[in-house]
Each structure stands twice: as structure tokens, then as C-alpha cells.
């Protein structure tokens, strides 16, 4: 894929929802943002890391905040320029391309829109290969990079920079500055070159979204499963959606009435664990999607309605998340669940051991 034209936007955003694993924001906002950007600036060029000089600085971009406030005050064009200026000033050189930090409907659309706004190409890769709730959960960090320096730009022109320190602490600090910014901010992190991206090799992210999105547009869920290599876990009726916030973080449970008994999905922002009658069927870091049985559209978990008939679909994530380090960072225990990781197909092996 060489560019994102208006005709490709629906597929790209629909496919990005897959990588949201039940979170990542309502696709309508992402779709509208991209249509606006393409109509104003033309098709958004995509590049591979190999097409850029290896030492070229790239601009990692992620939208911070919560979907409920993003749909009120999405990013403005000014914030993109402010973010670039701050990152370039610190690095002492120009950025050659925008780099999506994670995949998800909002966080595919925002880097693409930022690229259009800045007149830069967007790299056809990303650092996470899915949506995870913190910017320190990336393959780049598993490869030994520090998440700092972090730049946070708020809508009112506020710029906050976190230049060094423990990645976990920095992740907390970023979340702590979001409330006074109205829970919406444009964020950059990591010091990355095109050569780093080439070595990381998480290629074809936007193209993958387009390919999976095209499959999702076909009737039924089988084309989607073929496209993402996943499997149907179960089909059931939503019996209950509960959320509580005992430790400051929203934790939720979806109960599904299935012909084989009650299934449950534990979720926080994304779906984390799907189990049935006490048996864990699949967990994070693999992807767990919920599709409406009538429309086959993938659904944000918080939008599920009691009585809705749904398919639960699990699919594989980048193999590097299935290392001991990957499981420690993004396995179920990292989210506070006393459960060992189970892959989308029910197996439990680590990467390279299959």
C-alpha cells in the first residue's frame, strides 16, 4: 500500500478495530478524522523504513486520553505542529516521517492525520501491533529501548516533557497529566530512527489494517478469520455487562449465554481473558474480538447491549509478545489476573517453542 486515499479509509479504520481487541475507540471518529485530513491534504503517503535514510529521525505519535472525551474534543491541527516542533527542538534535527505507536481505530487514524497535517509520510508499521493501555508496552521497549523522552501536547497549548526515568513511572506520569488537559492529548515517545524501525521489522501495519478491514466488510465472520488467522471461540447472547473500579482502573466482565454454558470476557480497556465454565480459552496478549452476529461488525466492549447476539473471535498477535518478557509486560498477570497466558488457539507455548 503506497498511500491512504479516501476510498481506502473505511477498510483501514475497520481493520484497525481488530487490533483494538474490544477497545481502541469508536471507529466513526477515526474515519471522520481521516476523511477530513485526506480531503484537505490529499492521499496520505505511506513509506517503509527501508525507503528512508537509516539515521532519519521519525516522529512516533499516539493519541492519549479516553474515547469518551476524544469524541468531544479530538485533536486540533495546531497540536500536531506543536508536537513536531518540541520533538525536533530536543533532537536538534528534522523528523522524516510519522510513526504510529499502536494500532486501534483512533491510533491508526490520528498518526495518519498528523502526517497529512505536517506534510510528512506515515510509516507503514507500528511499535505495538495491537492496542495496549500504556505507551511503554511496545516491541521497541522489549528490544531494549527506553520510552523516554515523552512529549505530551494538550489542546490548550500545554506542552509537558518527561525526559528520563523508569518507564513504568513515566507511564504513570503521562496518565497523571491527562485529567487537567481534559483527558485528551497528543503524545510522542521514544527516540527512534528509520534504521531502528527497519531492525524492529513490524512492517505493513496500515496495509494489514486495510486487508483485514476489507475482509470484515464481507458477509459473515469467516473471511475475517481467514484474514487474521484467528478462530471462533464461541457464539452467545450478552447476558450482563458489569464494570467496577476498585483499584482506580475500570475492570469489567461480560457474561455470555452460550449453548455450551456461560462464557465470560474479562476486560479493562481491551478484552483480556475469555473463559467458559472456569476454563480459560484465550488471553492477552493475543487479540480477543467481539462481533455483532447480525452485522459482523467488531464492537467496542463497553458498547455491548444485553440481549445482543455476538461471536467471540480470538486471533494471534506478534510472536514477540509470546516471550517471557512479552508475557511479563502484557500477559494476564500484568493486568492483575492470576491466570497464565493462553493463545488464541488454546495452546500455551512460548515463542520459538511451537
Amino acid at each position: 500500500m503506497e498511500h491512504v486515499a479516501e476510498s481506502a479509509i473505511d477498510d483501514v479504520v475497520r481493520g484497525a478495530v481488530h487490533f483494538g481487541s474490544g477497545g481502541g475507540g469508536d471507529p466513526y471518529l477515526g474515519q471522520q478524522l481521516l476523511v477530513a485530513a485526506v480531503r484537505r491534504h490529499g492521499p496520505i503517503p505511506l513509506v517503509t523504513a527501508a525507503e528512508l535514510p537509516p539515521d532519519a529521525l521519525v516522529l512516533p505519535v499516539v493519541s492519549g486520553g479516553t474515547p469518551h472525551t476524544l469524541v468531544e474534543k479530538a485533536h486540533s491541527t495546531v497540536e500536531a505542529e506543536t508536537l513536531r516542533t518540541a520533538v525536533e527542538a530536543r533532537a536538534g534535527r528534522k523528523c522524516a516521517a510519522v510513526l504510529p505507536i499502536q494500532l486501534g481505530s483512533v491510533n491508526v487514524a490520528v498518526p495518519l492525520a498528523v502526517a497529512a497535517e505536517l506534510g510528512l509520510p506515515c510509516l507503514d508499521l507500528d511499535l505495538m501491533r495491537r492496542t495496549l493501555p500504556s505507551i511503554d508496552l511496545t516491541l521497541l521497549r522489549l528490544a531494549g529501548f527506553s520510552v523516554s523522552p515523552i512529549t505530551v501536547v494538550g489542546g490548550s497549548g500545554v506542552v509537558a516533557e518527561f525526559s528520563q526515568g523508569s518507564d513504568a513511572v513515566l507511564g504513570e506520569l503521562v496518565r497523571a497529566v491527562l485529567p487537567p488537559l481534559g483527558l485528551v492529548a497528543l503524545i510522542s515517545a521514544y527516540r527512534v530512527t528509520a534504521g531502528d524501525c527497519a531492525r524492529l521489522g513490524a512492517v505493513g501495519s496500515i496495509s494489514e489494517c486495510a486487508r483485514i478491514g476489507a475482509a470484515l466488510a464481507e458477509p459473515g465472520y469467516e473471511p475475517y478469520l481467514r484474514a487474521c488467522g484467528g478462530r471462533l471461540v464461541c457464539t452467545g447472547t450478552v447476558a450482563e455487562v458489569l464494570q467496577h473500579s476498585s483499584d482506580g482502573w475500570p475492570r469489567g466482565v461480560v457474561s455470555l449465554d452460550t449453548p455450551e454454558g456461560f462464557a465470560r470476557i474479562d476486560f479493562q480497556n481491551e478484552n483480556l481473558i475469555v473463559s467458559r465454565e472456569g476454563t480459560v480459552l484465550a488471553t492477552v496478549p493475543d487479540l480477543i474480538a467481539v462481533a455483532d452476529a447480525d452485522t459482523s461488525a467488531l464492537t467496542q466492549t463497553v458498547d455491548l447491549a444485553v440481549g445482543q447476539e455476538v461471536h467471540v473471535l480470538a486471533s494471534p498477535v506478534d510472536e514477540r509478545w509470546h516471550t517471557p518478557e512479552g508475557h511479563a509486560a502484557a500477559g494476564p498477570r500484568a493486568f492483575g489476573y492470576a491466570v497464565d497466558p493462553v493463545r488464541f488457539d488454546g495452546s500455551t507455548s512460548l515463542a520459538g517453542a511451537r
Binding site: Y28, A36, H68, V71, E72, K73, P133, P179, W249, A305
Partner: protein, 424 residues
């Protein structure tokens, strides 16, 4: 003297008059406008006895008059109408402006409202537009800036240019509320004209009768509110049919199967409400703030028993009411089934809903849930409900994701019978 309620279904050309016990005392099957249906029906009924007329009008087409569009705060990356089909935005958009202002999720102002910029926008609208739409960021959490701008616009443009505010639609999402306000504004003239015509026809028969329109959820909007919100009534015929079919069958709640068209539609009416699907309604390909009821649409090959089982989920004892002709054992086939939508209109209740973000910092969750319930009750009473007989749904809470803050999206609905006019 006994009281008579009239339901007019101008989509299918049906009219029904019901007494207080919801018994049909007269009906009319024909063609023509709602006013003509009323004339024909009241040839058979004493117009003096009619205290309420509830109408379903044919759905408008999504083109209307040229309007001005004002955005308060919000993303410059996503200006008004940015993602609309180009032919639609070109046809409707007069002056478009985004001004500083708007609010945060906790209701505090992001920036002071730029009143000089609002005044400049208003001047650009003079003589150029038939209506104006004003939408502010977090306008539900705090409608203050929208209200200030609307007041200023009214001063400059005068009383003949209607102003629609985003906060008049109870929906999270600036674009969803703005799109709704824009479409309501563009249809303002058309909607006012046709509802005024019907109002005139009603009062010609009985000056004391009240006129209501059916909304997309099958509950009512008073005449004047309906003039302001054309999009609120989208889907009214379907919704009224679901409620009316249960009334005709003499049951308070039901799974309703409508097999009259080329497709079979299965829905549920329960507690006077249609369960929501969570999906947004679209109009002319544009997403608006109203939600769609949960319906299953089947073609001829689709399995009806499976669809009925799903519609019944959680309420295993719901009876099934069938309108039209399909084999379905144990279904109630009510008499006068072709009058279902008209009967649903005549017997419709009034409802109000809340769906917004509540800051739970000060009073905590119980306090915000109480505020949500009160807002839903207030909205139901504004729609015409009798405050003494309101019923409420449980408050549904969705926590904010990705950020640990004490704020949540709360949804609640109150519904009940329409307030009876005081006997003279």
C-alpha cells in the same frame, strides 16, 4: 363524556380513534395527508370528545434549506461537516465557523466564549441562511456557551431564523450532536410548516385537543418540540407498530413480528420502551445522535423461531404477536392488525433519557446516578409525561477507559403515560 384519542399513521394511510380503555371506537383506511386522515376519521367520531391526536408523518428527505453552522471549541482537524457526503454538505452549508470556547468533561470552561467571533459569524449569516446550528464541546455537561451563542444569534438574526443547539440531543459525541442539530436546522422550515398545518387541522375540529408526534422510539414529542426536531421522529412508524401490535393483542409487553413487507422484522416492546441496539441512527448516510432500537431483519429464508428466541432473551415468558402472514405457532394474531401503528400512536407514552458523562468527584457515584435519574425524569415530563406515574429504567454505567478518573457515562430513561389535561 368519554375521552377519545386519535392515532394517525400517514405512512400507511390509517387512522384510529380509541377510548380510555384503548378500545378502537372508529377507524379509517385511505390515502392522503395526516390532516385528510383526521378529517375522514372525525366524520365517524364526535370531535368534541377528542383530547389528543398523535401522528406519524412520512419521513423527510435529507435535503433542506441553507443554514449557518457554528462550532464552539473542538478540533480544527475535524471541522463541521468534514466527513459528510460532499453533495449534502454543499447543499446545506452557508457560513461555517469554529470559535473559541467550549467545556471540559467536568463542565469547566476550556476557554471563554469568543463572543466577538460569534457576532461576526451572526453577521455573515444575515440574509444568507434559513436557520442556524450551534454545537459546543461537552455541551451536555455544560450548555452555557451554546446558550450564550444562541442568544446572541437570535438578537442579530431575529425570531424568524430558528437556532438549533447540539445539547438538545442527548448523545455523547460532538459530531453526533452537531450532525443532528445541522439536520434539524436544515429541516426546520419544512417540519414547522407541515406540523403547523396538521395543528391547524386538529384545532379546526377541536380547539382544545393536543397534538403530539411519534418519536423514533415510539413515545411522543409535543407539537412544538416536534417542530424543532425532525430527526427525532425518524423510525416512528416502525416503533409505533411494535407498541401498537402489543396493545391490539391486549398484552403489556411482547415480541412483535412484522411480516407485512418483503422482509420480516422482529422487535420487542417492554415496559413501554424498545430495547436499544446501541447503534446510531443514520440519515442520508450521516450519523446522528439518536439510537436505533434492537430489531432483527430477516429475509424470507431467515429462521423466524431463532429470531424470536433472541428477541425474547431475558424475558422467556413474553408472548409473540404476529402482524402479517407467516406460519408461527402460538403467536397471537390480533384483529385490525393493519391499524397497529395508528393504535401505537394513539396509546403512546412520553419518555425522557439521559446519556452523558458525569463527573463523580464531589458527591460520588450515588449522587451522579441520582442526578442522571432526575434529568431523565425532567426530560420525560417536558415530553408530556405525568410526573406521578413515571417509571424508570435502572441507571447504566460505563466507566472511562484508559484513564483512572472518577467520571462515567450514565444512561437512564423515564417513561410514563401522558399527563391528562385537567377536567374543566
Amino acid at each position: 363524556m368519554s375521552v377519545v384519542r386519535v392515532g394517525l399513521d400517514a405512512v400507511s394511510g390509517r387512522a384510529a380513534a380509541l377510548d380510555e380503555t384503548s378500545r378502537i371506537v372508529a377507524s379509517y383506511r385511505g390515502t392522503g395527508s395526516a390532516a385528510r386522515l383526521l378529517d375522514a376519521l372525525l366524520a365517524k367520531v364526535d370531535a368534541e370528545a377528542v383530547d389528543r391526536v398523535v401522528a406519524i408523518l412520512p419521513e423527510p428527505v435529507p435535503t433542506g434549506s441553507r443554514i449557518g453552522i457554528l462550532r464552539i471549541g473542538g478540533a480544527t482537524a475535524l471541522p463541521p461537516l468534514a466527513g459528510w457526503p460532499v453533495e449534502m454538505s454543499t447543499a446545506l452549508a452557508g457560513p461555517v465557523a469554529t470559535v473559541r470556547g467550549g467545556h471540559e468533561y467536568d463542565g469547566t470552561a476550556s476557554a471563554p466564549l469568543d463572543l466577538p467571533a460569534v457576532a461576526e459569524f451572526a453577521r455573515r449569516c444575515v440574509g444568507n441562511v434559513r436557520a442556524v446550528a450551534v454545537s459546543g464541546v461537552h455541551g451536555l455537561e455544560n450548555p452555557d456557551h451554546e446558550q450564550q451563542a444562541a442568544t446572541l444569534l437570535a438578537e442579530v438574526l431575529g425570531p424568524d431564523v430558528p437556532v438549533r443547539k447540539g445539547s438538545e440531543t442527548e448523545a455523547i459525541g460532538l459530531l453526533e450532536r452537531e450532525n443532528t442539530a445541522v439536520l434539524d436546522a436544515s429541516l426546520a422550515e419544512f417540519t414547522r410548516t407541515r406540523i403547523e398545518e396538521l395543528g391547524t387541522a386538529v384545532r379546526k375540529h377541536n380547539p382544545k385537543a393536543e397534538l403530539y408526534l411519534v418519536r423514533g422510539d415510539g413515545t411522543v414529542l409535543p407539537e412544538l418540540a416536534a417542530q424543532r426536531h425532525a430527526t427525532a421522529c425518524l423510525g416512528a412508524a416502525r416503533a409505533a407498530l411494535l407498541h401498537g401490535a402489543a396493545r391490539l393483542a391486549g398484552v403489556p409487553a411482547a415480541v412483535v413480528v412484522d411480516a407485512t413487507g418483503s422482509q420480516t422484522v422482529v422487535g420487542t416492546t417492554h415496559g413501554g420502551l424498545l430495547p436499544e441496539s446501541g447503534a446510531h441512527r443514520e440519515f442520508g448516510g450521516i450519523r446522528i445522535g439518536w439510537r436505533l432500537p434492537r430489531l432483527t431483519v430477516l429475509d424470507r429464508e431467515g429462521s423466524l423461531p431463532a429470531a424470536v428466541a433472541r428477541a425474547r432473551y431475558g424475558h422467556d415468558d413474553l408472548p409473540v404477536v404476529l402482524i402479517g402472514d407467516r406460519p408461527l405457532p402460538d403467536a397471537i394474531r390480533p384483529p385490525d392488525a393493519d391499524l397497529a401503528a395508528a393504535v401505537g400512536a394513539a396509546t403512546a407514552e412520553a419518555a425522557g433519557s439521559v446519556d452523558r458523562i458525569f463527573w463523580q468527584g464531589a458527591g460520588g457515584r450515588e449522587d451522579s446516578a441520582a442526578r442522571a435519574r432526575q434529568l431523565a425524569r425532567d426530560a420525560a415530563i417536558r415530553a408530556g409525561a405525568d410526573p406521578r406515574t413515571l417509571r424508570e429504567t435502572p441507571v447504566k454505567e460505563a466507566l472511562m477507559t484508559y484513564v483512572p478518573v472518577p467520571a462515567a457515562r450514565l444512561q437512564a430513561t423515564a417513561v410514563g403515560p401522558i399527563l391528562e389535561p385537567v377536567a374543566p
